[in-house]
Symmetry: C3
Subunit: 286 residues, 3 copies
């Protein structure tokens, strides 16, 4: 809940189970902490919905920054054991049970959104930051991956739409088909993120950018974002169709077998996913 | 006026108030000098129109190179005190009072155009170089900015159309919403320009490229450019609509207040704009 | 012909006049050798068609890697003296006499294709690697060029379609109009290729990537590729139209004159094309 400011300070707090927000003037800094590894399950989706709704309803909020309180994980990926639950949670804002539609909704928000990325951001976590308006990552720690292909899945929440536009057909096919980990430097070179910055300067850089943008008139900003979206954001039906197809793929025996194998090897546990790259390369169903 | 060549030389001259051109065989090298800071006002727009018309009318000109005689400013930005005047000047070639349509007209010219950029190029100056076919910049001195958002304006002369296609949604939103200065190295990384080169080699590089391209058959060149434009150049109605919207924004009290504040702090003076970045970050109307 | 595996080994061989292939599990590694310089003539096109047909017909092949056995030439460019012959050879798979349509057909193959590039790849050679799903090049030796403009030709086999999308209008116009040689580092910066890697690691990198991708379920992979193609691969009519126009250009006296001049100076000979850049810059018809 967004608390009213007192007289001495313009700082306000948002306190949710998996996200806490601190408002500094027109910029709201949201920190994700969903132990043990920031999995995107129904709780985190519910809190994202709540945060976005509160921030949009507050006329004094102009810019929304997302970061993680877990140095190793920004957002791990979806909780594959609770797909229908997190989809239902997404429906509260998206109007339909689909992460893709929730993320696209975020891309069209009147708020300017910035992802400040440290640690791992894979699968739908990457799709979440792709839905943000800008992405800056810590050179030393940020790791990116679209891991769906390893499970016989397609990227259902926008990665295909965004990455093909951001990095072109060749690099997008590499990223989407390889399920490899990419470090921040390579993610920058490929256009996955705006810039990789040293961790020591990242926070101040984003804070300063957020305040600068928030200081400019809202009307012009909205017109610019609307027009850029008109060119660079895929139509809703493309997101919806990817979302449906993801669900279909997830129901196939091949995909379910691979998921079981992965779970048996530690998938969705904090330690095993520190170095997920190797596990995914050896995921042949047994 | 394009003087006739004498027998000893193939060099011809174009002498206009704010642009002087030197023809070397099939390449015309135009140098902008509109003291005190190469503002894009009615005189410079009129001379750009005249230069383009003369160059296009001369069958022996194949490539047109733009550079600046002012080491600190390529084109500062539009003269915000003379918007209707420079728009009328643009109409002489564009057929309608719009910089966007003039610049788009340049992008479809039979001439191959190259911008050789040293110094600052902001706002519509950046949109002018984006309308050129290629952009090469001095690593040490070139500075790029789309400053419109700081004034509650949208980019009205093509930046939204070009930058979203060149650098993707995330980087385009950053550039268009932040009104920050970008150096040549970062502009290259973002795809704003073709390449950043050391100032010491830039001139010879562009000259050699211009002559090489001009030596190839015109017919094939025109077909290639037409096809690339069919993919990478936005439709005229998009440029026109941005142009109209820029004008609407410029008439709002909020934008006019910000412009007054900026003028009071030295906006549109040579010295104050050497480091414009800071001023724009503190432009809250008082 | 794809030989049946024996019991001891999963390795199979493809032996064609200009291409030899070695199958390692689900990945087929094809090596081009068409002396003296890997010109794209009717023999090589015929063998490409045959290789693709055999690989697609073999359900155990998932990924197809192309490399060259000639360290200096990956694919030089088309044999300009045998245009109608290689077009007829392309028709065997494309259904119409057009390299563009053959290459586009390859881009839509169920196989994932990777180009491992050492040496020169110019003209339609570049268009072939652009049709592959991914491109990795040796930092020390790979050289890229679209040389058509020097002959008054347009790029007829997809370069206009791919490069404008991969690198944007400005860089695409530079590459397509300049007919310059680009090294691997610059090709990477421009987005022409996925990555430039040291020659010493390139082979193992590609091999490992090929096996990783091939180990993932085919169904999801096909859906991803289909969707990326829906965004990043131009419609067939655009390829066809470029192909027709290339042929028209090639019949003009100006283009034929330039080709004659080039042939007189060693064009289509191994030594002269080691440094083709200079020759093309001085190709004024005499």
């Amino acid at each position: 809940m967004l608390k009213k400011p007192n007289d001495e300070s313009r700082t306000e707090q948002v306190v949710l189970e998996t996200i806490s927000g601190r408002k500094e003037g027109p910029a709201l800094f949201a920190e994700i902490l969903a132990p043990p590894m920031n999995l995107l399950g129904p709780e985190l989706v519910r809190d994202l919905v709540s945060l976005i709704q509160q921030a949009e309803a507050n006329d004094t909020v102009q810019v929304l920054v997302f970061k993680s309180a877990d140095p190793d994980y920004f957002i791990a990926h979806v909780d594959v054991t609770r797909i229908s639950e997190y989809r239902e949670a997404a429906a509260q804002l998206a109007g339909e049970p689909s992460l893709a539609m929730l993320f696209r909704r975020l891309s069209t928000s009147r708020l300017v959104t910035i992802a400040q990325i440290e640690g791992r951001v894979r699968g739908a976590g990457s799709e979440f930051v792709l839905a943000c308006d800008m992405r800056f990552a810590a050179r030393e720690s940020a790791i990116f991956s679209q891991l769906e292909a390893a499970f016989g899945l397609i990227q259902g929440a926008g990665a295909i739409r965004h990455l093909t536009r951001l990095m072109g057909r060749g690099r997008a096919l590499e990223v989407l088909l390889s399920a490899e980990d990419y470090n921040a430097e390579l993610a920058e070179r490929y256009g996955w993120i705006n810039r990789a910055l040293p961790a020591a300067v990242l926070g101040n850089f984003v804070k300063s950018l957020a305040h600068r943008i928030a200081s400019f008139p809202a009307a012009g900003r909205a017109l610019i974002k609307e027009r850029v979206n008109g060119i660079g954001l895929a139509p809703a039906e493309d997101f919806r169709s990817d979302s449906d197809l993801f669900l279909e793929c997830a129901r196939t025996p091949e995909s379910q077998g691979r998921t079981r194998t992965a779970m048996n090897r530690g998938f969705q546990t904090r330690n095993a996913e520190m170095d997920l790259d190797c596990m995914l390369g050896e995921l042949v169903e047994q």
